[in-house]
């Protein structure tokens, strides 16, 4: 069993609450545990905000957010599609999280959190579009 819903929205940070409301609605319908919902929300925020800040800068473009819910096993695929500059966030080097406060750089922390909390992330650039998919099981940790 599988449901698929998507929204197309202007890639602006002020639209983040709308994107999260859309995603949460699907997650709640799928019976997603609260803890996993928080992890997914954080991941969605990091990816959407990154698109909003950099994909079309200084122009404004749109992003599509698609959520597919699978049963048995219960899991979601959340796909972000934008027509901005090609950018693979997975190619970014992970920050060194063992450094002291003075040495810490904050760059790359967002995508690092996504990598740590999602089960799998796929990126491809196809027909002028960045296509990034987050995969997460809705059961267990």
């Amino acid at each position: 069993v599988k449901t698929m819903n998507e929204i197309e929205i202007k890639a602006l940070t002020e639209n983040l609450p709308k994107v999260l409301a859309f995603v949460d609605e699907q997650l709640e319908a799928a019976g997603c545990p609260r803890k996993i919902k928080i992890q997914i929300d954080i991941a969605v925020e990091e990816i959407f905000v990154n698109i909003a800040h950099y994909a079309y800068n200084p122009e404004i473009g749109t992003a599509t957010v698609r959520i597919e819910v699978m049963n048995e096993p219960s899991m979601v695929d959340i796909t972000f599609i934008d027509g901005g500059v090609p950018y693979d966030p997975l190619a970014r080097e992970d920050p060194d999280v063992t450094l002291s406060a003075e040495e810490r750089r904050i760059g790359g922390l967002g995508i690092f959190m996504v990598k740590k909390s999602m089960d799998d992330i796929e990126y491809k650039y196809l027909d002028g579009h960045n296509i990034l998919t987050l995969k997460k099981a809705l059961t267990g940790k």
């Binding site: 940070t13 002020e14 983040l16 609450p17 803890k35 928080i38 929300d41 954080i42 925020e45 990091e46 905000v49 990154n50 800040h53 950099y54 994909a55 950018y87 966030p89 190619a91 970014r92 999280v97 063992t98 450094l99 002291s100 406060a101 003075e102 810490r104 904050i106 760059g107 790359g108 922390l109 967002g110 995508i111 690092f112 959190m113 740590k116 909390s117």
Partner: protein, 117 residues
């Protein structure tokens, strides 16, 4: 730096911002900030401003996280810069951190940087 760094450039006033409540309590020269809600891309700028104005005159900064249910990298960035500002005075202290938030702080190494009680 190559690629697109994750950065925050949004600015919001508190009035527009229904997702987070910030309350400041001054006790002698220490400040306790009681936070409620979500510390995310849209709410972080308001928190950053509040902390900046408070940090100038205090020697102790305590953030009460009991009501915080969510923190993204935008929020962590605010904590890190506040901690750096306060480091000579002993840094900032987080209290009443929930398990969900604790896990985020651990994954990102922030539990080793910040004083968490």
């Amino acid at each position: 730096m190559t690629g697109r760094p994750f950065m925050v450039t949004v600015s919001l006033t508190r009035e527009e911002n229904k997702d987070m409540d910030i309350r400041m309590e001054n006790i002698n020269d220490s400040i306790k900030v009681i936070l409620k809600g979500r510390i995310d891309t849209t709410t972080s700028p308001a928190l950053e401003q509040k902390l900046k104005s408070g940090m100038q005159q205090c020697s102790d900064l305590i953030l009460d996280f009991a009501g915080v249910e969510y923190i993204s990298s935008a929020g962590l960035r605010v904590l890190l810069s506040a901690h750096k500002f306060m480091i000579k005075k002993g840094g900032l202290k987080l209290i009443n951190v929930s398990d969900d938030i604790s896990e985020i702080l651990e994954v990102t190494g922030f539990n080793d940087i910040l004083n968490i009680e």
